[in-house]
């Protein structure tokens, strides 16, 4: 047996029954449909080094920071006293957290991999997981998909999405509560005028197809923007969304108050450490330092059903489009790591088999075929890809993967 066939890091997934199936697809017998769940996405743009916490490795196969493997239930996490926020997160929330390892992005370019890991597809103009879930499950809300971060792919569901801007510019567009007694009357007149225009268009050039969707989007966008203006107080002040810490309260409020069904956040940290890879420690600390209160809040805040909490109906996904090469390169003390096409993700919250690892990598961070329904390495399984990952998230959130990804096998091992 060579070292590539020696499987490690399978964690608790190894305890599950091994299946020879490569994963479900649209033609397989479907598992019970999941209830509709809300979605919070945290995108670590730039490519995180999974050896810092999520996928422990050892020399000589990888250059790793100080630390040791620490078990949190069945999660094996690489921790160190110098990274207390990572430790604290798993101490508090490991039981809500599934760790997915060995997801292949099949590329090493940021933009391509961002699109793939977010949408499950290679093609341009495809909606990302937030846009799909929001469209399918929360399209009646004012802003089904709220984009607080920098990157989102809205594709055909653009009308269901809203960006707040890099410095929360949306606040300026929403204006201030209008003391002018005429404003409401004039707004109603403008709405009527826009609707009449749309109706006229539908009767002529906008009767069908692409044109019809543009007209419907025009009218729908107007209506959604009016509802948004009623919620102006929830968007804080200009410049307030620069950090993940300031995005989280907005995101939680947006879900809790039924403004949105899905929210995209970005960490806005320098994960792309081609030099000074040690900065990954700060990135991990900052991110996990915010994830802990995020999950705390989901546990504290009321959910949709009576007596429930948000954690019971909300899924959190923390992911990155790439990871980093196992080995450092460059000159001391500024050694960095390049892009690596096998990454990991955290899936947290409602419907998740928490406290378990699904998927695996080789000692030198290569991919390993798994059974997608168990997460267990299998010689008859398949390499988990970004598409399988997104299909699994769709299923977890209660959407139909086949509606978006056709016959793509569903990586659903992490669904309870």
């Amino acid at each position: 047996m060579n070292r590539r066939n020696f499987l490690i890091g399978t964690g608790a997934a190894g305890l599950a029954a091994v299946s020879l199936r490569g994963g479900r697809n649209a033609f397989a017998i479907d598992p019970p449909k999941q209830p509709p769940r809300r979605l919070l996405l945290v995108f670590a743009l730039g490519g995180w080094d999974t050896t810092y916490a999520l996928d422990p490795k050892e020399p000589p196969f990888a250059s790793v920071p100080a630390g040791a493997i620490q078990r949190f239930g069945n999660l094996d996490i690489f921790t160190d006293a110098s990274r207390p926020n990572v430790t604290q997160y798993f101490e508090r929330h490991a039981d809500h957290t599934a760790l997915l390892r060995g997801i292949a992005t099949d590329g090493i370019f940021h933009n391509e991999c961002m699109r793939r890991i977010a949408t499950g597809k290679r093609d341009e103009n495809q909606p990302d997981i937030g846009a799909m879930v929001a469209h399918d499950l929360g399209n009646a809300l004012p802003i089904p998909y709220l984009v607080l971060g920098d990157v989102a792919f809205t594709g055909p569901y653009t009308v269901s999405a809203a960006r707040v801007g890099s410095t929360n510019q949306i606040v300026e567009l929403l204006g201030t509560p209008d003391a002018d007694p005429l404003a409401a009357t004039e707004d109603a007149l403008l709405r009527r005028y826009a609707d009449a225009s749309a109706d006229r268009a539908r009767a002529t050039r906008g009767a069908a197809g692409y044109n019809r969707r543009r007209v419907d989007d025009f009218a729908g966008a107007f209506a959604r923007s009016e509802r948004l203006r009623q919620l102006r107080d929830r968007f804080g002040a200009r410049g307030e969304i620069q950090s993940l810490a300031s995005q989280i309260p907005l995101a939680l409020d947006a879900l809790q108050q039924d403004l949105s069904h899905a929210v995209m956040m970005t960490t806005r940290l320098g994960w792309d450490t081609h030099g000074d890879n040690f900065l990954q420690a700060d990135c991990h600390e900052t991110t996990f330092g915010q994830l802990t209160p995020l999950i705390d809040e989901l546990i504290r805040r009321p959910g949709r059903a009576a007596g429930s909490k948000m954690i019971d109906d909300t899924v959190v996904v923390v992911f990155s489009e790439l990871s980093r090469t196992p080995m450092l390169a460059g000159d001391p003390p500024h050694e960095g790591k390049g892009h690596w096409p096998i990454t990991a993700a955290l899936v947290i919250g409602a419907g998740v088999k928490g406290g378990q690892v699904f998927g695996a990598t080789t000692p030198d961070s290569g991919g390993i075929p798994i059974d997608l329904s168990t997460g267990v390495p299998s010689p008859t399984g398949i390499q988990p890809m970004y598409s399988h990952f997104i299909a699994g998230l769709l299923a977890l959130c209660g959407a139909d993967p086949s509606a978006h990804l056709a016959t793509t096998p569903v990586f659903d091992a992490f669904i309870a």
Partner: protein, 572 residues
């Protein structure tokens, strides 16, 4: 005795062939284009009326609406339309459109701090936006200069000059008269006549990390000039390769089949760009700075070991590379695709191949005259299509084109004299931002929120509306409406922007309808009379607003807000 090729060699050859297939396809398509004609449009398709067609052409080419005189002339004689298109093609607004179009291709307007040369002497007082915009406008200005002067489009990669304003000239040390504005100038070194390939800004925008040896630059050029994106290749990354070891990578990109397929073409292309500085420009300490370092030209020999080459040929230097690209059939086809895609708001993959082939053929035979290409596009059935009564066909017809944020800015300026802008002391990374055009800015403005691109995170425009783009459109309309009502209230009749048929205090129904008819023509490109039923909704809006406030100026402001943010204003 003939040696059998090993399985490894066969796989490698196949991978290489896959990489070259795009070249062959392009050549075949070019050859086919001589004999193929696009099929006629389906009988279920309807087209824009001549005045609607004129309006779409005017918006697509200039970002402004046609004048009433132009509309009336075309209504009276539709054969006049091409004459107006020719006029639009010589307008300064078309030059702006050419820059916008190529920015969507080259992605040169990212408001990113570490991609912007810093404010150091003698430019220590320059605001961020001014530096950022000038530096990245340079290659776009060159392209626009070539197009507007009817030079062969191939000169975008072969020209022996560029354009500079004072900022660009100061930063890069280019000859300049010190007058305001942009003027032709030349690079003072021996980088060669290579058009935008010689542009320092292109390489500031596209940097590769030191050990990636200009591959990002090579792909950016291949993607934007040849429509060949190496990163979209359908390959599997071999994780047995230690990507952190330059020696291992250097071997893999030659001998590993999953790597070599792309790298055999990409790495020689990348080797042309070693002379351009690969570091972060934020370290620049004073100007002028020369980021072209000829001594680095041979660094390929100690890194990738791939001499400069272009898909199997070996043209010399950037000038040779530019000529090779210009002669590549993919270049002409890619240019046609970019123009056609931008002007019809259709994705490249949705453009009819036969139409593109025909355009390419004529483009080449017209000595790569871009204005003639654009003229042919905007006069085509593909451009003037309105709808399709066949439901399946209706899915493919782009009968509504949406204004881009920059077009909205120009349209509002042309109609009302209003420019949504500010000079601000707000900072980005400790650097004063300065002038902001709200519809062409992402940090403080609303370019992305309005559906545009930021050239960094958002690289595809949105052609539909959502809540934020609706808010942007209405806010811009509201501000423009208030501005023009105030302006026209104070201006002499001859100096008014919009209120030429009635003063802004008019409430008399006949005067109001006369003015509304004027506004329908100016804003919607609809030629209607004061008694036309088409004015009913606009008249009702004015009457309702007047009834609510009793203030005719306020009523006109509300009415104009509605009209300037209407479907007929935001789509064309």
């Amino acid at each position: 005795m003939r040696r059998q090729r090993s399985a490894h060699e066969l796989v490698l050859a196949e991978a290489y062939n896959a990489g070259m297939r795009a070249v062959v396809v392009a050549v075949v398509l070019a050859a086919m284009s001589c004999s193929s004609e696009p099929p006629p449009p389906a009988t279920t398709v309807t087209f824009l009326t001549p005045t609607e067609h004129l309006s779409r052409a005017s918006m697509a080419l200039r970002g402004i609406r046609p004048s009433l005189a132009e509309l009336r002339a075309v209504a009276a004689d539709p054969d006049q339309l091409p004459r107006f298109v020719d006029r639009y093609l010589t307008s300064p607004e078309f030059a702006v459109t050419v820059r916008d179009l190529h920015n969507e291709v080259l992605l040169l307007h990212p408001q990113v701090l570490n991609l912007t040369p810093p404010p150091v002497a003698p430019l220590q007082l320059i605001p961020f936006n001014e530096m950022n915009r000038s530096i990245y406008d340079e290659p776009l200005r060159l392209i626009a200069d070539i197009v507007m002067n009817d030079l062969p489009y191939t000169q975008i990669v072969t020209a022996d000059y560029t354009l500079a304003d004072r900022t660009v000239a100061t930063a890069w040390g280019l000859p300049h008269s010190d007058d305001d504005g942009w003027e032709r100038t030349t690079w003072g070194d021996d980088r060669g006549a290579a058009g935008i390939l010689a542009s320092t800004a292109l390489y500031v925008r596209y940097r590769s990390i030191t050990t990636n040896y200009n591959r990002a630059r090579a792909n950016a050029i291949s993607r934007s000039l040849l429509c060949h994106d190496f990163t979209e290749s359908d390959i599997h990354i071999d994780t047995k390769v230690n990507l952190s070891d330059p020696a291992v990578v250097a071997d893999a990109v030659v001998n590993n089949p999953s790597c070599a397929g792309c790298h055999q073409a990409m790495d020689p292309l990348a080797s042309y760009f070693f002379p351009f500085y690969q570091g972060n420009v934020s370290g620049v300490s004073s100007y002028p700075v020369d980021l072209f370092i000829p001594d680095n030209a041979s660094m390929w020999s100690t890194t990738t070991n791939r001499p400069p080459g272009y898909f199997g040929a070996a043209p010399q230097g950037l000038a040779g590379l530019g000529k090779a690209i210009a002669a590549d059939p993919r270049f002409a086809r890619c240019a046609v695709v970019h123009f056609a895609s931008y002007l019809t708001q259709r994705a490249a993959r949705d453009l009819a191949p036969a139409w593109i082939a025909q355009l390419q053929d004529r483009f080449v035979h017209a000595n790569y005259n871009a204005k003639r290409l654009v003229r042919e596009i905007v006069l085509s059935d593909e451009f003037r299509v309105a709808s399709d009564s066949d439901l399946a066909g209706a899915e493919r017809v782009v009968g509504y084109q949406k204004v881009r944020p920059q077009q909205l800015q120009r349209m509002l300026l042309d109609l009302t004299g209003f420019l949504w802008q500010v000079d601000t002391d707000e900072m980005i990374g400790g650097w004063r931002i300065g002038h902001v055009d709200y519809l062409d800015d992402d940090y403080l403005g609303f370019r992305v929120l309005g559906g545009g691109i930021d050239s960094w995170f958002v690289t595809e425009p949105s052609y539909t509306m959502n809540a934020t783009s609706s808010l942007v459109a209405r806010r811009a309309a509201q501000l423009a409406a208030a501005y023009v009502v105030d302006h026209d209230a104070a201006a002499a009749p001859a100096d008014r922007w919009l209120f030429t048929q009635a003063p802004v205090d008019a409430t008399d129904p006949s005067a109001v309808r006369a003015e509304l008819a004027e506004l329908h023509g100016r804003i919607f490109s609809e030629l209607v009379g004061p008694d036309d039923d088409a004015l009913a909704d606009s008249a009702a809006l004015f009457e309702g607003a007047l009834a609510a406030s009793g203030d005719p100026r306020r009523a006109w402001t509300v009415t104009l807000t509605g009209m300037l943010s209407d479907l007929r204003a935001l789509y064309y």
